[in-house]
Symmetry: C2
Subunit: 458 residues, 2 copies
């Protein structure tokens, strides 16, 4: 790769929107992970699809790596420039292009964040439900197949991307999908690019499904004697078809951290926090039914609220739980795991993890999107203590293997990036090589986000 | 291709379960379409995945086409052996392998039909909702990305396949997906094989999502002065988030046919037939709210029922509508279209189609999965009249183009098969070639269902 020639060609197309400043390279070489910085050789700020296509064509001509960048909230180092090259920062492609209220869909550029979209939608009576916590870009959320607290009701990014515009590895612009709600017309290319982590092309436009803002929202909270009771109540609620919009588990350690952080006085037991969406009567009925279900599994202190301020108080506990947990060990670094198992194995998976942590002296409070079987342990450690770092990583490793052994996945919603490559062969077996075959067919020179997702030979 | 050598090798593996009888070849060379018979050279009846893999390996060694066969209900000739070869009939792989009630999933062999699965599930409190009308095999439904009347609430096959076992074009057995409810671990290969129409491999096992049987079901019916009113009521209901499980449109001509067939006395106007799933109180509230919504769009005669016999009476009208329409023109052949458009364009699409039919003297009652923007015209014609045949096909052609022009798809749920190949380039543009690139990478010799889905050069 002749970096100078690449930069020169990019500059003649994008002028000042090609940066080699140290601050730009540092920013785009950093991540939320423990991986060392991996800066690109240059960062470009395209404003149009045509410019993205031109960037990729230039890079393709020089076999120069191309890495997409949304807003940098990835937890697995997806956008680290593992082999240098050019990082394409989508922050200037941040327009909501068209809201179609009757069709309940919207077309956006990839740099729009989910909060910006929902602000734009506020007056329409519609909203975009996928909520991974961070105010991520929608292009990044599609590329990592993100989800979050609302997936149990509304689904993941996979369920919300109707159509894409993509710049392929050759710099060609293609469109996948249509605005029809469903189609049987050929391979689901939209679904192939969602979750491809920029290894097959760069998403330059997304058409997303929206939902009507619910007439009423209720929040609820209750405590259980053990995780198994909380999970059993969740299974019952889902089998009953209760329209639960969020159902989140905080384990005992998480509750203790939340109490300490927020001055709350929740009993130090596993808790479920819930949200119900529907009509006024519907959420009342759902909340009451859930109260009965939870009591039959030993829950205590069931309480629900429809007033916005009461709901906010409940959910701010959940939203702040991550910070509360970090604050419980000032100065500690953290490592966030992402196991997702069949829900019948969930309490076993969490309890085995807690036992493992206790055995190895690991501090790792657990939060879970329990309706999906997905839970995160926030493993904290002192990163100046090499032995502690190793112990933390080993514990996370055992947790990922446990998830796979239980018929689950190594990553429910964070993606592979740099952090989960070691599990791909174990999770997919020969299907991983098939992913490599697809990658090689669509990107023969391996310029799109190299070092990620597919087997190394590709 | 040395057919004799293929047959010999197959026979040494499968013995009597290789058939070259005329009746077998005729059956597997026929379809529900206007295409002429295209029989294979042999039909095999494997009983295990290992046998399917052996069949594909034998065929691969001789570059012999391999075509999957479920139960033969495809409407687009997917399983016609366009280039001869071996048809793999999955009727002996028809076992429900494992029902996991807590996880609300099931693993089945591809030859299990949706009715057989639901019979098996009856005692569990769970059901499989995807209902394309025909009692299709689940392998075939996955391969065509089928849906039907319940997609508005529960989604399509794309939303229900969690994991697959597939025999690839080289005869390798791979597994895609896991039993976790969601995953961000690499390319969505499950989604790639769903809807691939057997052109990338043969599905030998499916893990499917199930749902809890609703506590209560209500059915409703109402008449509108025009299609636009029915569509507007549908849009309102969906924006309100009403848990509508089915919402089906019958146009005036369909209602007339149903009345004549069943002796019913519905007013000869466009009708909506609906089904609501939920709690007792929930379906009552939903039905009442829908009654108000529909009246605001000029509906009359709104009536709803929760008693099973009353619901059956309503839905038997819908289920028999296809036969009622055929009976309205005894001896006529039919051609079923499958346009699907953004719902904001739906009434315009239907009205333009009705006007087009009137202008060209076409009889084509229209039924629609109106919540998805998907509608079928049952175009009837006398197949001994060459000019009438041409007129019918031309009308269906204009309808498909109209759907594409409105931002929709040429096929909402029936698939491409032989019937919709001519629209692929127009619908997908350069993305169609990308489908061809994937096909070529995974099946370089083009043995898997050749002549289907991808550009002819592949």
């Amino acid at each position: 790769m002749d970096t100078g020639a690449v930069i020169e060609a990019l500059s003649s197309s994008l002028g000042q929107r090609v940066s080699r400043s140290k601050s730009d390279l540092d920013l785009h070489g950093a991540s939320e992970t423990h991986f060392p910085p991996m800066p690109p050789d240059a960062v470009v700020y395209p404003e149009t699809t045509a410019e993205v296509a031109e960037v990729v064509r230039i890079c393709a001509a020089h076999r120069c790596p191309v890495v997409g960048w949304g807003i940098g909230t990835s937890l697995e180092g997806h956008a680290l420039a593992a082999r240098g090259g050019v990082t394409v920062d989508f922050s200037r492609m941040n327009r909501v292009l068209e809201v179609r209220a009757d069709d309940m869909d919207v077309t956006v550029q990839p740099g729009v964040t989910r909060e910006a979209l929902n602000t734009e939608l506020r007056a329409t009576g519609l909203f975009f439900p996928v909520d991974p916590g961070a105010n991520a870009s929608l292009g990044g959320m599609a590329s990592t197949r993100a989800s979050g607290t609302t997936a149990v009701r509304y689904g993941t990014m996979r369920d919300h991307v109707l159509a894409l515009e993509v710049v392929t590895a050759t710099g060609e612009v293609i469109r996948t999908g249509t605005r029809a709600r469903k189609s049987s017309a050929g391979y689901d290319l939209t679904g192939l690019f969602v979750g491809a982590e920029g290894t097959l092309g760069l998403i330059t436009e997304l058409t997303l499904r929206l939902h009507g803002q619910p007439e009423a929202i209720a929040a609820a909270v209750c405590a259980f004697d053990d995780v198994a009771g909380a999970v059993a109540a969740t299974i019952d609620a889902i089998q009953l078809g209760l329209p639960v919009a969020r159902i989140e588990l905080l384990d005992r350690a998480s509750v203790a951290a939340v109490n300490a952080y927020a001055g709350s006085t929740l009993p130090e037991k596993p808790h479920l926090l819930l949200e119900f969406h529907g009509s006024e009567a519907g959420v009342r009925e759902t909340a009451e039914t859930f109260g009965e279900v939870s009591e039959s599994h030993g829950a205590s202190g069931f309480d629900w609220a429809t007033r916005p301020e009461d709901r906010s108080a409940l959910w701010s506990m959940r939203h702040n739980a991550f910070y509360a947990i970090l604050a419980s060990r000032p100065g500690a670094r953290s490592l966030v795991t992402d196991a997702c198992v069949p829900i019948s194995r969930l309490s076993e998976a969490i309890e085995a993890t807690q036992a493992d942590f206790a055995q190895h002296g690991i501090t790792g409070p657990i939060l879970g999107h329990v309706g999906d079987g997905n839970f995160h342990a926030i493993v904290m450690f002192d990163d100046t203590d090499a032995e502690a770092v190793t112990r933390a990583h080993d514990a996370a490793h055992r947790l990922a293997l446990r998830s796979l052994d239980m018929g689950g996945t190594c990553t429910g919603e964070h993606g592979i990036g740099m952090g989960k490559m070691r599990y791909m062969e174990r999770e997919h077996g020969p299907a991983w090589r098939l992913m490599g075959t697809i990658k090689h067919a669509l990107d023969p020179d391996g310029i799109m986000n190299p070092g990620k997702l597919v087997p190394p030979c590709n």
